[in-house]
Every structure is written in C-alpha cells, then in structure tokens.
Symmetry: C4
Subunit: 275 residues, 4 copies
C-alpha cells in the first residue's frame, strides 16, 4: 500500500518536475525559470562593491534562499526519478548539482559563491518550457554542421597555434623585455590578441621590425578568418541540402524535394511523407 502510494506520488512529482505537458508542470518550469534568472542576477549584483556594502544582508538572505530551494528541488528530482543514478550522472543532473554546492563551499572558501553563475546553464531547460522544438532543431542543425567540420577546424587551429607560438617568440626576440614583451608566454598571448583581431593594445610593438612583423601577423589574421567561415558555410549549406533532400519520389526516385512538396517535380507522382 505504502509503496503504491509512494509510486503514485513519485509519478506525479516526476510529471511536474521533469515534464511540461500538464499545467502544473508548465507552471513549475516557468517559476523555476524566473528563480534561476533572479539568482544569476543576484550573484552578479552582489559582486558590485557599492551594492554589496549597502545590501549585504539582503544579498546573503536571497542567495541562501535560492540555494535551499534548489537543494530541495535537487533531492526531489533524485527521489522522483525511476533510476536516480541515471539522473545524477546525466548532463542536467551534474549541472543541477554544481548549481548548489558553491553556496555551501562559500562557508569555507571565500569567493566561491561567484561560481553560482553556473546556474545560467540550467536555462538550457528553457527550450522545453516553451516547447521550442524549433529552436532545439535549429540548434541540432548548427551543432551537426560544427561536428562535421570539427576535423577541418582542428587542423586550422593547430596551424594557428604553431604560427602564434613562432611569431610570439620572434616578437620576444625582436622587441626585447623593455616594451612589454616580458616573456615568451606573454608574447604568445599578444600574438593571439593580434591574430584574432581583438587588439587590446596593452602590449604594442615599438621597434620598426616588430611593427613590420605585427603587420604581417595582422594581415594574416584578417585573411585566414576566411577559413573557418568558409568551412562552416559549406557544412551549413550541406546540412541545409540534406534537410531538403530527405524525401525521395517513389516513382522515379528523384531526391531533393522540399519539405512542403506534394508531388514529384520530375515525374508528377504523388509523394509520401511530411507535406
């Protein structure tokens, strides 16, 4: 009896916390969303010195309230899961855990409460709340395209890294320690800042030879940004076509019908599927 009752409670909790089909489930998700955003905002504002000085009490109260709420939620999630271990070691299970411990850690380690911003990743659940499957789909198209081009991008980044190490060291040798290039690691950092066209300007070449080498690095960085862009464009275009060519004519086997086509545009035969 008790276990049955328990089971029905578990199912109910599960549908509220993990799903967004029922009114209760949706309401829970929306409230959770608001609390997550509020808690990230509170952590951010707490770090502003003037605000912290004046409202320390308020910030700490809010932070502990949010943490206790999230802790309760975490344990209810574990309790209501059919296989708690699966939840705990799932992507969202780990995020949920990391989203509460910094507050407890802050009792021992000063400053660790700022790691609470990891809570922002909990917002990835947002997609489910608004039933934004469209967003999830588009996200999948993007990440598929990025995955397909990961080898090309790794090769590209490897070449960039070697270039940055060599140019950084040359700048260290050319410019010398007086002009900001105080060590090879710092010079490599400068080379990255320059190649990526960020250009902070905290370290800049002062000698003519250094400026010449920097000019070459900048033009290279300006030019090779074309490479990842080209890679991703091609992959996205391919993913786009794949998306569009998933429907085959059952009569003439022509591929590439758009998702809203009803008839084959080659032989006029009726198509099966989505449209």
């Amino acid at each position: 009896m008790v276990s049955q009752k328990n089971d029905s409670l578990k199912r109910k909790l599960y549908s509220i916390i993990f799903e967004a089909e029922t009114t209760a489930g949706r309401t829970f998700d929306i409230i959770l969303l608001i609390i997550i955003v509020a808690s990230v905002v509170v952590v951010s504002l707490e770090s502003v010195v003037s605000l912290r000085r004046d409202h320390l009490q308020l910030f700490q109260t809010l932070e502990w309230s949010f943490t206790i709420l999230f802790t309760i939620e975490y344990f209810v999630r574990i309790y209501s899961s059919q296989k708690p271990v699966n939840y705990i070691f799932s992507f969202f299970g780990i995020i949920d855990f990391l989203a509460i411990i910094p507050t407890y850690l802050s009792l021992f380690v000063i400053g660790s409460q700022y790691l609470l911003v990891i809570r922002v990743f909990r917002l990835l659940r947002i997609a489910r709340v608004f039933r934004l499957t469209r967003f999830v789909n588009e996200g999948q198209v993007l990440s598929r395209a990025l995955n397909a081009s990961i080898t090309k991008i790794t090769v590209f980044l490897g070449v960039v890294l070697m270039m940055v190490i060599v140019v950084g060291t040359l700048m260290y040798v050319i410019e010398g320690r007086e002009s900001g290039y105080t060590s090879i690691p710092i010079s490599i950092y400068w080379a990255i800042v320059t190649l990526t066209t960020v250009g902070f300007g905290d370290i800049t070449p002062a000698t003519p030879l250094g400026q010449l080498l920097a000019s070459c690095l900048m033009i290279m960085g300006y030019g090779i940004i074309a490479v990842p862009t080209g890679i991703v464009s091609v992959e996205l275009s391919r993913a786009d076509k794949l998306d569009a060519t998933s429907r085959v004519c059952p009569n003439c086997h022509k591929e590439g019908h758009s998702s809203d086509a009803k008839y084959c545009d080659n032989c006029g035969h009726l198509l099966r599927g989505k449209a």
Copy 2:
C-alpha cells in the same frame, strides 16, 4: 460646396506630401530630404563645445525653425490623410512625431534636444523620392534572408550570452578586483568586448591564468564568427536561387519551383518553361 473644395485641397496636399508622382510632390520630397539632413547636421554640430559657445544663437534659431517646419508638416499630413488615425499610428507617423517633440521637451528637460537625431530615420523615405524600388527590393531580399535565419541566430546568441556570463564570472574570480575586473557585470562587459573581437583594452587580464582564459575566449570568438556568417550566406544563397528560378505553376499558381522541375510539386501539373 465648402466640403468639396476642402476635399479637393486634401487630395492635392496628399499627392504632394505623400506621393512622389507629380513634379510638386517630387520637389516637396527633395526639399524635405535636404531639411532633414541639415537638421541632423545642426543637432550634431551643436553638441561640439567650441561651436556651441560661438554660435549658440544661430543653432537655436535653426533648430526651432526646423522644428516648426516639421510640426506644420506633421499636422498637414494628419489633415490630408483620409484616415488620420492610420497615419498617426503607422511606422512613419510615429517617427514623424518623435522627430518634433524633443525640441519642445528641451524647454523642460536639458539635453533632450539631442534626441532629435531620431530625425535620421525619416530618411528611410529617401527610397521613395528617388523611386529606388531596386533598393527597396534588395532591402527586402536581405531582411527576408535575416528573418529566415532568425531562429538559428537566436540559438547562436543564446549560447554566446551564456558563454560570456560564465567566462566573465571566471575572470572576476581569477583576476580579482585590483586589475579592472571590479564586478561581475563589468567582467561580462569585458567578455563581450573580447569575444566580439572589439578589444578596447580599457580592461585587460594581468595574471597568467587570466591571460590563458582570455586567449581561449578570443580564439573562440574568432572561430564562432563563422557561424552567423555561414547562416546568412546559406539563407542569402537560398533567397537568391528562389529569386532566380521563380517559376509559377499555371494550375495552382504556386511559386518558387526550381529551374529543373518539370511538374508542380504542389498539384502535379506540368510546368511550362526552362526544364
């Protein structure tokens, strides 16, 4: 009699002010264009301290003249419209209204006259003046392509925002308050400056660990700019193809058949033309 005369005046005013078919209409539009540009230039120059000190009288005279002219124009527009309410709440109606009130507001709120630059949006009418339908068309192709990729870009921006919040906070924890990263909001601002490869250099990492994290962020920002570029390229290319191969079905009038299609993919009717 009076109402008829009134009606004919209204029609005439309407054709002059709202249309550009007649000589009078075109002349009006060109004069309006010049006045708008002149008024934006005057507002800009007035803000330069040295000019303002020497020519305050001149600037104020010009500003009030422009405002009075635009106010008269605004009321004539309302008067000559058949349905004044439609005009008032249309896009251009609101712009026209916002383009005059800052001067009146400046009597009460100092500095509000600078908001007059909103007048620059009145220049969007420019397309009509020069009958630049070609520009309008191209603008529509661009905005259609941007609209089609808005979901992908939203997903992309969401991921970027989370990344910036997390990296910003980490930098705050790593660098500490001494080196410019005085609060989490400031650190997030820095992360945006860095990720977008703007790199002002007003805040820069000083610790080795901070420079390492900044390097990762820069390389990421340098690499992921490929994503929106790829998205827009694919959409523009698609919009372009649709434009170029816009074949219409003679049976169901569906547009957008590709150039090698033989049958309508909506109703299966034989297509005429290229294929």
Copy 3:
C-alpha cells in the same frame, strides 16, 4: 621626310613606353617599376625624423631626380600618343600627372611632397609588365562580383550609418561630456570604431548604462558582419558558376561543362572551344 621620320620615332617610342611586347618595351617597364617602388620608399623614409635630419640632402636629390625622370616620361608619353588628349584624360594619364606635381607644389606648400605616394597607383601597370592576364582576369571577377552586389551593400551601409548616428547620439546623452564623448560627431566616430570591431579604446563607456548599450552595439556589429560576407559569397559563387558554364554541348545543349572538358558529360558528344 621629317614628318615621316618623326612618325617612325613616335611609333618606336610608343611601342617601348606603352607596350611590353618587345625586349626594349619590357626592359623599360621593369626599370620604371623599380624606380616607382624606389621613389615611394624614399618618400616614406624621408618622413622619418631621424633619417630626415641625417640625410636631407640625399632625400631631396633623389626626390627631384625621380620627379624629373617621371616628368620627362610623362611628356614623352604625351608626345608618342596618337591622340594625346585621350592619354591625358585616361585613368593612367591622370595618375601619371598627379605623380609628378606634388614635388613642384612642395616649392610652395610645405608637406605636399608626401602626396607623392600617389605614385603607388602607377604600380597598377605591373599587371602588363609580367603579362599577368590571369591576375587581371581574377581582378575582373572580383570587381564584377562587387559591382553586382553594390546595391545590397549600399542598403546595408545606409542602415549601418543610421544605426551609428542614433547609437552615437544616445551614448553622448548617456555618458555625458566627462568620459570622452565630448560631442555627437565624436560619439558617432566611437560608434563606428565599435561597430566595426576595431575598438581603439581611446574612448570607452564608463557608466553601466553606457556599457550595456556598447555591448548591444558590439554584438550587433559582430553579427551583421555576416551580411556583407554573405552577399559577396553569393555573388562570387554566381560569378564562378557563370565562368564554369560558358560551354554548351552542340548536340544535347547541356550547359556547365568545365573549361578542360573535351566531351559532353551528358551525351558523350565532342565539345568545341577551349580544351
């Protein structure tokens, strides 16, 4: 007799100076090339204070020598042209003229000799010297693609300009005169620096609201760079296809054979033309 002799001299001079078919013509062009590069380098180095102080005499001698050489060349070009007026008002005629006058002007206006760097445009003749028709062709493909997308890019730049004016003014109102945004023109300059992701850092927002607006502007600038890139990609891809589809099969009329194809890949018929 004299006029005939004159004519033959003219023709000979013309073939040496304007053409690169004969050995004399090619030798002339290569010497000219070296002198142009040398004269640009001399003008550049003359501007370096330390070099100028020590070698003023040398620089002035060289500069006047180059100018006299170019002046003689200019008059010989006019003399040997069949229609001197055509040459004088041609693109290269004007460049050749502008490449000599700054030295004479420098007798009256101090500093005008630096405008001699306009000589760098004379290097555009380089293509002919090395018979680099391949470069000229590629340049034409590029400029055709840019021309085809000029309307789209104008629309894009118009929108960017309006955005920059409005955001610049808002920053002026928000930040106030104390923090570098001393006038609306300066603020617009800052907005351009920021939107284009250059980010000098000579002016930076100091207020939280200013930093928020700057963040939005940066993310916008980072995102909309995709637009011109997409436009040019599409146009280049189209130009590329046009290039590749210039050969039609005389039997089955299939287009799109690559330039090195000998047989139609649709019906196997022999192709005419390039290959």
Copy 4:
C-alpha cells in the same frame, strides 16, 4: 658480412625512426612527441624572468639534454636513410636541423636559444604518429582550396596594400607629427592595424578630419573582409563537391566527374555509377 649486418641495422633503425608501423616505431614517435612538447615548454618558461632567476641551472641542463638527444636523433636519421642527402634537404630534414643549432649558437649569440621554438614545427609529424590520415586529408582539402584561390587573394592583398599606403600617408599629412603619426611608415602600420580591425589604440586620430578618414578606413576594412571570406567559401565549396562526386572514368581514368555526368568529359567513354 659487416656491411650486411650494417644494412640490417640500418633497416631496423629506419623502421623505428621513420615509420610508425611497428610497436617500437610507435613507441619511439610518442616519446619523441612528448620530448618535443617538453622542450618547447622549457624554452617558453625559461624566458619568464622570475622562473629564470630561480631555476637557471635546471633550465640549462634540460635544454642541453634535449638538444643532445635531438642531435643524436638527427645523425641517426642521416645514418639510417638510404639517400642521406634527400633527407637532409627534405622539409623535415631542414626543420630537424634548425631545431638543434640555436642551442649551439647560444654559446656565441645571446638570446638565440629562444629560436628553439622552431621545434614546434616538428610536431607536424604528429599526424603520422596517430595515423591521422583523416587530418592530413582535411589539411590537403584546405590547402588545395587556398592554393586555388591564391591568385584572387594576391589581387585582393595588392589592392589592400595600395590602399593602406595611400591612407597612411594622408593620415600623416592630416594629423601631423604631434599625435603619434610620427612618420609615413608608422602611419602605414596604423592603417594596417585599423583596416584589419585589430585596433590597438596605441595611435589614434585626434583631428576631426583624421577621425573622418579613419571612419572611412574602418568601414572599408569591415566591409572588404567579405572578399577573402567569399573567395575561400566558394573554393571550399568547389573542393567539397569534387571530393563528394569523385567518379573515375573506366577508360582514361580521369577523376572528378560530377555526380550527374553520364559520359567522361575527357574521352567520351560511358561512366558507371550514380547518374
């Protein structure tokens, strides 16, 4: 007898050092890899003043150990090669040589040991170690695409260079020596920093006219980045298509027929497969 023994030793050494098919060969390559990375890290860290002061002895011992190891390896590579001269003047032979001499040079020239980072290029062997033919292939696709677009990119860079020289000189004339634009070469360096959107901010325009010209240069740099990106996108897309549809003629063995080709475009023979 001796020469035979020698030969067998040579072959064994060759298979260990140059190949990665045997266990011994793979082990050798992985150990080599670790030593290379370690030696680059040591060279980098040695340049940090605080570390150098405290651990000079350690750094020098490590550096000489690595160099002696690499020297032995170099001579064994020469010894075990069948044609030593081919190895010595091959790409990797030169890299291997350059990776050891700086340490010996540092006995005579102070600072030359930092050139040891050239060792980072030895990591290009990494591909073989992990049998990463996939990476090598992708690298070849990328470099083929870059090679195919090298003419277009040269034209583009030539135009950029002329633009930068002219704008740099104009800025020198406009801004004058007081505001950082101390010579034409420096001004050209600034123009490169600005056009590539790096924007260090070490030199910035101070006059209204200079800021106007800088704005134009920035917008140009922001816009024309589309050109190399478009070029590389088109080439990558073409390389991609060739890759995907690489059909070989059974008669003349010509590769690269598109997926809808029925006949070889080189000899007119019927193709097998997809079409």
